[in-house]
Symmetry: D2
Subunit: 339 residues, 4 copies
């Protein structure tokens, strides 16, 4: 059993803690938080040990009479692996603590590549992570792109990928973030950072990204335009490959009625996924079009959830014995991912 601690308990931390608790080969040491709010109380209800991020947090827990099992540092000392899901750049600051305890740790995409030295997407480079002390799971958009671009590249060769990312501007409960009625160029300069971030996982992959921020809370929407090396590839051939690719889900806007990101979220609610989470890169089957050896398609990425299976696989990669396929299969089964 791998003992896993989760430091940070917001969007990613909460999901990753539940996902750890569902794995047969892992045990959740606890979660660390800064505030004794309803999320802390519900973690306790779920039977998780809750630790305080620092001394100030300890006092806040005491004042609110919410039980707390010690400091984040104490929690880390009990673990084999710490999943750091703290806000951007806090992870980098925590690295020294993990190092001094001689612990392995997983960072999120908000940290620089250099913090861990290896940026991770399970189906792209699982084996490289084996035995490492630190691994960084890349951000949601990068994860979604790596799966699909890597699949296209392995099957047909990619000579250039161009991607326009319409980003959801805030998570559902980030009530202070906007815009409310505008498109923000984020950044106005091109390329955006997403392309280079893909290259931390897939070195030298030829991809250029443009990014917009739009007033939605539920999913990022990617428009892909991919030049293929192999000529005269049919749409059906691409769809066939995706149907075999791990964590790529195909939907259809026609009969099936997936006409928007809202329908994908509705699907997740319907199928009973916890928090209506969608772990897959969602590709519209009927959007796949090849014109003059350029493949076009739409893909949606659930920003809150897509990196959860990667975090679990990263734990196994650095602490376990399993191969890539074994780990992906174990993670998928536990989380209800079909492929």
């Amino acid at each position: 059993m791998i003992k896993v601690a989760v430091n940070g308990y917001n969007v990613i931390g909460r999901r990753v803690a539940d996902a750890v608790a569902l794995q047969r080969d892992m045990v959740l040491v606890g979660v660390a938080k800064t505030r004794p709010d309803y999320k802390a109380k519900m973690a306790l209800q779920k039977g998780y040990k809750v630790f305080a991020a620092d001394d100030r947090a300890v006092k806040a827990f005491e004042k609110a009479k919410v039980s707390c099992s010690g400091l984040s540092k104490d929690m880390s000392a009990e673990a084999d692996v710490i999943i750091d899901a703290t806000p951007d750049e806090i992870g980098a600051a925590n690295k020294a603590m993990y190092s001094s305890l001689g612990k392995k740790a997983i960072f999120q995409g908000g940290e620089e590549h250099e913090v861990a030295g290896l940026s991770f997407v399970a189906q792209c480079n699982y084996e490289k992570a084996k035995g490492r002390q630190f691994v960084r799971v890349v951000s949601c958009n990068t994860t979604g792109l790596c799966r699909v671009l890597n699949s296209l590249d392995e099957s047909f060769g990619v000579t250039k990928a161009r991607v326009v990312i319409a980003r959801r501007a805030a998570d559902p409960d980030e009530i202070k973030k906007g815009p409310i009625d505008a498109v923000v160029l984020d950044p106005a300069t091109i390329p955006s950072h997403h392309g280079p971030d893909v290259n931390t996982v897939l070195p030298n992959f030829p991809v250029i990204t443009m990014a917009l921020k739009i007033p939605t809370t539920h999913m990022h929407l990617h428009s892909l335009i991919v030049s293929l090396k192999e000529k005269s590839i049919s749409e059906d051939k691409i769809i066939e490959e995706f149907a075999k690719t791990h964590r790529v889900m195909l939907v259809d806007s026609g009969e099936d009625g997936y006409k928007s990101t809202a329908n994908v979220v509705d699907y997740a609610r319907e199928i009973g996924r916890p928090r209506n989470d969608i772990y897959e890169s969602v590709v519209w089957k009927d959007s796949v079009k090849v014109i003059d050896d350029e493949a076009y398609m739409f893909m949606a990425v659930h920003q809150e959830a897509i990196v959860i299976p990667e975090n679990i696989d990263a734990v196994r990669a650095i602490a376990g014995q399993e191969s890539r396929e074994e780990s992906i299969s174990m993670t998928n089964r536990a989380l209800g991912i079909f492929l």
Copy 2:
């Protein structure tokens, strides 16, 4: 075992079918739909029999190669009670069919009171529904209001209630409805229809409502201003009463951090409610204020889910032996409602 059929399988129908399937004393005969879309396929995946709404629907199912067990009429013939969750005014049209089959049926708040002759909120008038052929479960806003206003009236007496309802303009997957960036007076004339609708459940209750439509998808938000008969009632006394009232949930914006409807939805995702459903009238504890014998408070209503427990109780009221308290308790236990 009460045999229940669900006619209509959109926002309410889907939830009510799952809720029926969770009751120990009910069995789901099947659900009826017009289109063989992803919702139909997932109903089949859940093991529900799917029936076609009419002949045209049968053809659509055949064309799409989605299995269908007959017509909605066939389904109704097999049931003891039909829950009609079809769109507004279709329920009224279906009544003749239910009558000719000699079946009991439950209609939703989109139908006129006269269609059923009894408008129902479990904790207000369960006993009146016993043995009836037809009952109408009132709409989400009316249900939410009846619970809270009835509680205040029984405890302290209400001489006048004024309510401003800021309505979510569309459900999460209603992608064609707006507004995107405006407040719609819906209607601009005052009072809105919600007050009179409360009176179908609580006759002569003195309530006047004003209604706005705003660009959100998740919950209605009520601002209540209630004149109390009993004098010098404290806020704590009101909160105490709510804490004892069925299906009223108290939240706090302070330490607990419920600062918006988004946090309430987040709570439902966190606690693992299916489709992040909130069956309770959600009252902000720290908003309750009494000034000159007028009680002020905020309440949120989850439009997709609040009537689900009422539909279940309505089935028991017209077809079962249980008393109000027994039914509410059985429904609550099955749905994970604490009170």
Copy 3:
């Protein structure tokens, strides 16, 4: 000619500068800004002198090669009256500078009442401002409410007003502010600060306010419930009084088609108001309803514009000879306000 300087050049400052430039008895000394952005360039295009807020701003202007006529302090020294339209609490900090220069100044509603000692709405207390050194123009919601409540009180007597304010969460170009899809209780505690702020203008006026923040950018929407002293007042009588009240505009949702705040904005675009500004408190005529001596109605407030005429009147009140009626009439004519 009253020499007026405008310190701060964002939402209010820009409008107030243009409004000053339109008055026959005022001359615009200049405007002060912190950043040499497109707004600065357009101020120069309009022929306004642009001053830098402080030394850091001077450097930014130099670097961007945008012309700047000195410091905000220099600008103030040239003026008879400074309209301070800097962000909340900066005005209070600027007061010492205005004092030391022996200048009169007008502050906005983001400052505390105590900064100026007199909180101002032209038609409520113009005469009290005469000759003063400092005046505070109250915020948009308070201004809108004071006009309408004062009118009702003078005509019929008001024994209690309750107001639910659905606030636009951000201005159209505030792209970082949300929420995107939620109702924020702002604050969750009742009463909100708006009622007490009305009392800085109308002492002891019996008003209680509740405030929500909603995902719109264009107008605040007030739902008013007002108990009248005089009995059996008809709706027509109230509408008649509003039709005579300065800066209250009546619209109708029926034939005329004003069904939302969007239509009011559309009206302003159609009539050619600069920046589609609406200076009036907009009351829906067909929403006015009297039930048991309580008057109900909807009112919209354009947060960017409603205080502009008040700022102009405040200048005349502290620096000019005109009476309230003279000033209001001069301001209205210059800004295209009908009454």
Copy 4:
């Protein structure tokens, strides 16, 4: 003087009527409407003759006591040119009436190309419209694209253009349209109709478009990826060309602060454009990037306004003596367009 009638008085009709009234060589015969709402009343206030769309409309005007000068047909009989700004497909139905009266007419992009036989963007094919009876001004997105793509093609040669269009889902006063919080693939199939529509103006131009609908009301946002024939073109060279292209406006996200479509709208409000209209294709200067002979850039299109100058030029093309440059220059001067 060219006598111009405007049939239809909503988004386009209202603007085009005002634009006609501003031209020195045109006179506005009147406008035709279906409803006697506030827009009709304001047209009368502006001194426009208002005609009724049909007999039913006549009765509605009479009932509402709003003055009406006859039928749309009567108006057309008085005109040299009719600008048809009626809703999609109504224009096609009106064509027979214009034909039987022997009148020239201009249709909008909601009509099929075949209705007019010539699809028009002034700087692309003005001369082809000379002397014709019917011309179709293409839709907002097509107009915006034609200007920019034609400029790139004439200067550098374009071998392929790929465009992702993030469409505003509704106009500011279309309060019934959504989505509120989703991205709608519109259509999910690729290419969208926009590319072929460009080809009605620029035959065989190699362009492929993908379209999303997003919850904003103010501008469409295009992400362009354009392969250039000429090699090693610098970004500065492209910007230089745009700076010389009619009705292309360059903005900058850096110092100038145009970080979103909201800032562009704010600019239009600031500069005093009627209804904050933006007639230009707005290109972000600092987004222009050339990588491997592919030019990337962001462009915004104001859906309500961009076709207004084209409509005016189309009138002159079919009814006047002016050359392309003369007409564009006259239109620009009248509307305050710099180039």
